[in-house]
């Protein structure tokens, strides 16, 4: 393809009026075509990074795949031009696109764990595309891979390629995938949410590695994410997308510091919620003393003691595997602890769920991370919430219906949703219904297990506001499990930091999140991306310990 290269003023990638469509199959309706991307245009100079940002359904991944002339399952590119070095790749045909994919344009997906073949060594997979395209000999490609492993900060770059995917951590796998994309010396790399599935402390390392690699290799990149603060660290330009249309397109400085569109301003100012910490935290609704627990013979919790102030919020924070969700399972009785006791309102709870009374069960409700799996897909919203009303209060018929509609009002959805199925709701609406189901029991304490981590930032904000409002109205207590320090800062009254099954820190927010810090809390606090250009460099310079993923 090199002979087709035009003079230097042609940008590396130019997308003109791109339109992408698909067939929609709404339940109960005839299938009909819909437009996913409605005429998007942008240009990318070589060596630059363009961030595509938007909430789910904005069409950012779909647009991101267009430089590969690829439409994911059932999606077709219906109009516009994608010019790579002045050549429209949409008109190249099968052989032409095959010559581009994996050689000139490469792709890094969100879940590296699902993208690597577990049966082959990492090194072989990293150089596979390069060899297939005949760009290098095997020994050259291997040397290139080792060089890239070094640039990306992977341990023992010489022998890293000898490992299998299950032998390395998630963050390392994501970097190995970046090495795979860089191996063929492509002109353009598409990063599709490369750090979204990682813990904050790991995300920062991967982000730094990606940034270094882009700088050192001089490749251009499209960086797709829903997190504006992340993209602000790596991109030169940012395009904000919503519902398949461009909302705003400009330099990073412009977007972050002086956005024009209201939607962009909302994104920049997301999590402006502030909940002042309650002064008196002496009331105790839930008390856990010296809790140890294990899955089978593997111990996961070690001597954890904490309590939830009445009518207030305890945030439990930590990365995946820190035991924070296990603590919730112990509190609810799903996992009886091996040692320690749980007291609710001063009353000792039996360790196992089946021995607890209905009244005890009612007072303690749980909201799950994935609202999709937390609701029976075969039941309507009315049935999901109504069952709880019938179960605890014995309401039937119109009394039950009225109570459900009242709850639907409280979550700001209204009775129009009574007969809807979960599949017909958006992610945020599903989580609201889950909240209504918890409220239906008229609980004293709700354990929220990462209820917002699967949601877009603005939707998540709405959920948090709703939870805080309900807390004020009904004197609810919350245990809020999260890996996101920003949420903790926003809503918590007291904070517990967990690390590898142990309680690292516990106390009122003002004390727990104030120096002097232990090393882990310091790392955790510093790893949360801030909506600030240059934040990444500052943090890397000031860190005391490196993350567990290394």
């Amino acid at each position: 393809m090199a002979e087709l290269r035009k003079p230097d003023e042609t940008p590396l990638l130019e997308v003109r009026n791109l339109k992408i469509g698909a067939m929609a199959y709404p339940p109960g309706e005839r299938p009909h075509p819909i437009e996913i991307v409605k005429g998007v245009s942008f240009t990318l100079e070589s060596g630059k990074v363009l961030g595509l940002i938007g909430e789910s359904g904005a069409g950012k991944s779909t647009i991101g795949l267009s430089p590969l002339a690829y439409g994911r399952g059932g999606v077709t590119i219906t109009g516009g031009e994608v010019l790579l070095d002045g050549v429209d790749i949409l008109k190249l045909g099968k052989a032409g696109t095959r010559a581009i994919r994996g050689a000139r344009v490469c792709y890094v997906s969100q879940s590296a764990a699902a993208s690597f073949n577990p049966a082959h060594k990492l090194g072989d997979q990293v150089i596979e595309a390069t060899l297939r395209h005949g760009l290098m000999s095997r020994s050259e490609a291997r040397a290139r891979a080792i060089e890239l492993f070094g640039i990306l900060g992977l341990p023992e770059p010489e022998t890293f390629g000898e490992r299998y995917p299950h032998q390395v951590s998630g963050g390392q796998l994501q970097r190995a995938m970046t090495a795979m994309a860089l191996c063929s010396r492509p002109e353009l790399i598409i990063f599709d949410e490369p750090t979204t599935a990682l813990d904050v402390t790991t995300q920062i390392d991967v982000l730094a590695a990606i940034k270094t690699a882009i700088l050192k290799t001089g490749t251009a990149a499209l960086y797709i994410t829903h997190d504006l603060s992340v993209v602000a660290q790596v991109a030169d330009d940012i395009m904000v997308l919503r519902n398949g249309e461009t909302v705003e397109y400009g330099s990073v400085e412009k977007i972050i510091e002086n956005p024009d569109a209201d939607y962009t301003r909302e994104l920049v100012n997301v999590r402006a919620i502030r909940n002042e910490e309650a002064g008196d935290q002496s009331g105790r609704v839930l008390e856990m003393k010296n809790i140890s627990a294990s899955y089978g013979t593997t111990p996961v919790l070690f001597d954890v003691s904490l309590h939830v102030p009445k009518g207030q919020t305890l945030a439990i924070v930590g990365e995946s595997g820190s035991g924070k969700s296990t603590l919730a399972r112990v509190a609810t009785g799903l996992l009886p602890p091996t040692a320690g006791s749980v007291r609710f309102d001063g009353q000792e709870l039996t360790p196992a769920l089946k021995n607890r009374s209905r009244e005890q069960l009612r007072k303690l409700q749980l909201i799950y991370q994935m609202a999709d799996t937390a609701m029976n897909p075969r039941q309507t919203v009315g049935a999901i919430i109504g069952r709880v009303v019938t179960f605890y209060d014995g309401l039937r018929g119109s009394a039950r219906r009225n109570r459900v509609n009242e709850l639907l009002e409280q979550i700001e959805m209204g009775s129009g949703f009574y007969d809807r199925y979960p599949a017909e709701l958006s992610g945020g609406q599903k989580q609201r219904v889950a909240i209504a189901r918890a409220l239906a029991a008229d609980p004293e304490l709700i354990i929220c297990d990462e209820p917002t981590s699967a949601l877009d930032p603005l939707v998540a904000d709405g959920i948090l506001k709703l939870l805080l409002q309900l807390q004020r109205e009904k004197q609810l207590s919350y245990v809020f499990i999260t890996h996101d320090i920003a949420i903790v800062r926003a809503i918590a009254d007291s904070v517990a930091v967990m690390h590898q099954g142990k309680l690292v820190r516990f106390g009122p927010k003002s004390q727990a999140l104030a120096p002097p810090f232990d090393d882990y809390t310091d790392l955790l606090l510093k790893s949360v991306p801030e909506m600030k250009i240059g934040w990444l460099e500052d943090v890397l310079a000031s860190r005391r310990i490196s993350s567990a993923g290394n």
């Binding site: 199959y25 799996t373 029976n376 709880v388 179960f391 605890y392 189901r437």
Partner: protein, 274 residues
């Protein structure tokens, strides 16, 4: 249910099933001759009076086909419904309660499955009094082992979903979880399996009748009719093929309808119906 959403193949299947059901329901009125009425010479060729010819004893084949639909459909349908009730309830309870109950039921099921079905059926039917209830019961119990396997796997997957855990946290009883939370979500594969099992039941009752342990002569049923007429094949007489073809057509018809039902139910879940 929208009439227009029924696919053409489903129409074909429904027609096939409808013909068999109508034949079974109105047999005395539809059949031109009596079930056991000898009307001519053995294996007399098809003619205007006897559209399908006569069987090995000189009985009208068409009339016996119509009466046979009755017995074949009734027995296989009853056996399948019974085997599903048994298999689904036991397997779901096993998957939800886990522990000793699960272990006991699953190993008992393995034990039953390790004995070849046909031989097991032959021995049991030879030992027990020969009547319809016993026949249906034996077929159902043997078939329920397969349903148990499927149900256990399905319920095992669904029982670990968050909404089942939520029901458990609420304090729901096992039977509520089985019938209200898990069963509706297992319906799609179960309905598919039902169609398949119904087809197998038709084949199984036919096999048993063919071997002489199923429906006893002179009552007509399709499998028994193949047996009665099998010797004719040597002489180039196709009488045995007619009930054979009927079994095949009914089996295919059931599966066409099941395929369509599957698409319909999966689109409810937000999945894509083809």
């Amino acid at each position: 249910m929208n009439i227009r959403s029924v696919s053409p193949t489903a129409w074909i299947g429904m027609t096939g099933i409808a013909i068999a059901v109508i034949a079974a329901a109105f047999a005395p009125w539809l059949a031109p001759y009596g079930e056991n009425e000898v009307v001519g010479a053995p294996w007399e060729a098809a003619s205007h009076a006897f559209p399908l010819g006569l069987d090995n004893l000189g009985r009208d084949l068409l009339s016996r086909m119509i009466y046979g639909a009755r017995m074949t459909l009734f027995v296989s349908f009853c056996a399948t419904v019974l085997s599903f009730s048994l298999g689904v309830v036991l397997s779901f309870v096993a998957a939800v309660t886990r522990g000793v109950v699960d272990m006991g039921l699953s190993r008992l099921n393995d034990l039953m499955m390790s004995i070849p079905t046909l031989i097991f059926a032959l021995i049991v039917l030879a030992a027990l009094p020969q009547n319809l209830a016993v026949l249906i019961g034996v077929m159902a119990v043997l078939d329920s082992t397969r349903v148990f396997r499927l149900g256990r796997a399905l319920a095992g997957d669904i029982a670990v979903m968050d909404f089942v855990e939520a029901a458990r946290l609420r304090g729901e009883k096992t039977l509520w979880i089985v019938f209200r939370e898990i069963l509706p979500n297992a319906m799609t594969p179960l309905v598919a399996e039902f169609g398949l099992r119904l087809a197998f039941a038709v084949l199984f009752i036919s096999t048993l009748s063919f071997l002489g342990l199923g429906i006893q002569p002179p009552t007509a049923d399709w499998g028994g009719m193949v047996k009665d007429n099998k010797d004719g094949i040597i002489f180039g007489i196709s009488a045995a093929l007619v009930p054979g073809a009927a079994i095949a057509v009914l089996t295919i018809s059931i599966n066409l309808v099941v395929d369509w039902l599957l698409n319909r139910t999966s689109s409810l879940k937000g999945g894509r119906g083809g």
